[in-house]
């Protein structure tokens, strides 16, 4: 789960990390009021859940109230990578001496929280990683010890030599780590962290992502979620135990297991077809799950054929078959279905499906080719 910059800044503030003053605005009138209230140079920033806002023209400096209003007019309502800007942040534009990058994420290789710091802040860190990887310091944090004073200092000395800045930075790093742990984050970034004209450190942009698996114990974070229309569907699916991602093709897929679901999409594409979605019905299944899954597939009007690929492990094929039969009875499915089924309790599952005269194919390649043939014959 992602949150907006203004929400990340608010969390930073709550933990005592210095962040410039800001006001969230939904209208031009609010932008004007905010600029007057801040009463100095401001920056007007689009609040959308996508990177590259600056490049897209979604971030503008304004020296006067009139300029802020003009910036607000340009940014509110603009489209950034398919998302409409519905709100902007009007923030105090501090004078910047130098910019840095600091971030925390999960490192799969060391199986730990990784602290990243770089003197090359203010630019896309992924670019720095590609062009000049040595410019990013990467320090795995011991899970038992957490962010110790000495470690925070050690990292700070990699970026700063002045001891008053090192002390400020170490304090920020400790707080940032605390945020990461206490909110079950998957990414926390300050980019850039700047030295202001007054010689103080300030976090002038923030990014936070969270571990979806931990949202059940993070009610204060979960309420910050602002899903898009497609994501709302995905969340609804998740509540029924399904993982759903809408794509732009016409072959609806229902598969158990993420890897097999991805491979099924790959095979469809390989033979020239176009998957309409990724849909993993997950582990332990019940007939109801299959009914929910069919409902979900049918709600996408682009779906012309449904391909079902089940390899039973913890999922029982008889459960899937029963669900399918029930779904077909309840939902009046009029589009063709191609089924491939094997694994735990497959014999019983196949028997149920054959009883209802549903089409069964033997292999994944055959299923994909049959689905494509059916789409092309429409």
């Amino acid at each position: 789960m992602k949150i907006h910059e203004y929400q990340a800044r608010q969390i930073f503030r709550e933990y005592g990390i210095p962040v410039p003053d800001d006001i969230l605005c939904y209208t031009i009138e609010e932008v004007e009021k905010a600029a007057r209230e801040l009463n100095r140079m401001v920056v007007v920033k689009a609040q959308v859940l996508v990177g590259g806002r600056g490049k897209a023209g979604g971030v503008k400096l304004a020296k006067t109230v009139e300029a802020a209003v003009e910036a607000g007019k340009q940014i509110l309502g603009m489209d950034i990578k398919g998302l409409t800007v519905e709100k902007v942040l009007v923030a105090d534009a501090v004078e910047i001496q130098k910019e840095f990058y600091v971030g925390l994420t999960i490192d799969r290789n060391t199986k730990s929280v990784l602290f990243m710091a770089s003197s090359e802040g203010g630019v896309e860190i992924e670019e720095v990683a590609k062009v000049n990887p040595d410019a990013i310091h990467k320090i795995p944090i011991d899970a038992d010890l957490g962010m110790t004073d000495f470690m925070a200092r050690k990292i700070a000395f990699k970026l700063f030599s002045d001891i008053t800045l090192v002390k400020q930075a170490a304090d920020i790093f400790k707080k940032l780590y605390k945020i990461f742990i206490e909110t079950d984050a998957s990414i926390v970034e300050i980019n850039p962290l700047v030295i202001t004209d007054g010689g103080k450190l300030s976090a002038i942009d923030g990014k936070m992502n969270f571990d979806d698996n931990a949202l059940y114990r993070q009610p204060n974070i979960e309420v910050l979620n602002e899903p898009t229309e497609d994501e709302k569907k995905e969340i609804l699916a998740k509540e029924s135990g399904l993982t759903y991602i809408r794509l732009d093709g016409n072959i609806g897929c229902m598969v158990n297991g993420a890897g097999l679901a991805m491979a099924s999409m790959d095979v469809i594409k390989h033979f020239g077809g176009n998957p309409a979605n990724f849909l993993d019905i997950g582990g332990s299944s019940s007939p109801q799950k299959v009914i929910d899954a069919m409902n979900l597939l049918m709600s996408d009007k682009n779906v012309k054929v449904i391909m079902i690929n089940i390899f039973g492990g913890i999922t029982r094929c008889d459960d899937v078959a029963k669900g399918l039969v029930a779904a077909l009875e309840q939902l009046k499915v009029e589009i063709p279905i191609v089924i491939r089924l094997s694994g735990t309790n497959a014999e019983e599952g196949l028997r149920i499906i054959k009883e209802h005269n549903l089409p069964i194919v033997g292999s994944l390649s055959e299923a994909a080719q049959e689905a494509i043939r059916l789409v092309n014959s429409l």
Binding site: D142, S186, D211, G257, A263, S284, F311, G312, L364
Partner: protein, 292 residues
């Protein structure tokens, strides 16, 4: 020979009285896996499929000498179960539970490291040494004893691969589902080393997927340390960027972790990568043939 488990491995089941725990205990017992104990707090003295249940892992280990534990515990409590297994004297923990918070796994793997305890998963289907022992939720009828070692980040995709191998007459030494989470236990490198040292394994199949750089690292390790033939498959060749494909680990972001990059890493060191699942057995046969 085989890796990690064989017919003598003594296994305990944490969460044996739950729906999934009890169902799959039955399947494992039927297969011949030596399930010697179950753990379910407050249910000591009961039996499930004739397996005695204990209150704690420690009690179960003392009474039965179990060395391997399999966990069927809901995600919020799964990491604690892993810690209990390690504390109780278990040497290899297999965690089936799906949806365990990442930071819980960071803590758990850190503790297991210090204890010298191995972990497979979480969010994995377990492992099998065919015709000897299956510890997990694998559909056993598709496996056959043989000489192909297999490791995979995906569960059901593994089943598909194994049935294709078996249908082509290629049996398996040991198959391990390592799980799809960002922070997991044993990974490609450790398993490659075990398969390389296992006399029964003649070829290795590695099933990867998008996200992270574990496949690239595996390729580097193969180049330096593995003499046996390896065949790879990468799921998610057509996945859109920035979307989490079910597995928490399967997300392509910022241009790293794509299938293309992983395929290129393997092909650069001479490891063939199958484009379709059905090509895997063909490539294994060709690799074995070339070695003769």
């Amino acid at each position: 020979m085989s890796i990690l488990i064989n017919k003598d491995t003594k296994v305990l089941v944490q969460g044996i009285t739950g729906r999934d725990g009890s169902f799959h205990t039955g399947k494992m017992v039927t297969y011949g896996t030596k399930i010697v104990a179950g753990v379910s707090p407050g249910k000591a003295g009961q039996t499930v499929h004739d397996v005695p249940v204990f209150n704690t892992v420690e009690d179960a280990v003392i009474a039965t000498g179990a060395t391997v534990s399999i966990i069927f515990i809901p995600a919020p409590y799964a990491a604690d179960a892993i810690l209990e297994a390690a504390d109780g004297g278990i040497k290899l923990v297999i965690c089936i539970s799906e949806g365990v918070p990442t930071l819980d796994m960071v803590k758990a793997t850190n503790y297991l490291n210090k204890k010298g305890v191995q972990l497979i998963g979480a969010n994995c289907p377990g492992l099998i040494t065919p015709e000897e022992s299956m510890i997990g939720i694998l559909p056993v009828n598709i496996f056959k004893k043989g000489n192909v070692g297999l490791m995979s980040r995906s569960g059901t995709l593994t089943y598909l691969m194994v049935s294709l191998l078996t249908q082509s007459g290629l049996g398996q030494s040991t198959c391990v589902g390592i799980g799809g989470d960002p922070v997991a236990g044993l990974y490609y490198q450790e398993l490659l080393e075990m398969f390389e040292n296992d006399p029964e394994t003649e070829a290795i199949v590695l099933i990867g997927e998008i996200g992270g750089d574990a496949e690239e690292r595996a390729a580097q390790y193969i180049k330096e340390h593995v003499t046996k033939p390896v065949v790879a498959f990468i799921a998610g060749q057509t996945a859109p960027a920035g979307k989490r494909m079910g597995h928490a680990g399967a997300i392509i972001s910022s241009g790293s972790g794509t299938a293309e990059e992983k395929i290129a890493a393997f092909e650069a060191i001479g490891v063939p990568v199958a484009r379709l699942p059905v090509d895997v057995p063909k490539l294994v046969k060709a690799a074995l043939e070339a070695r003769k």
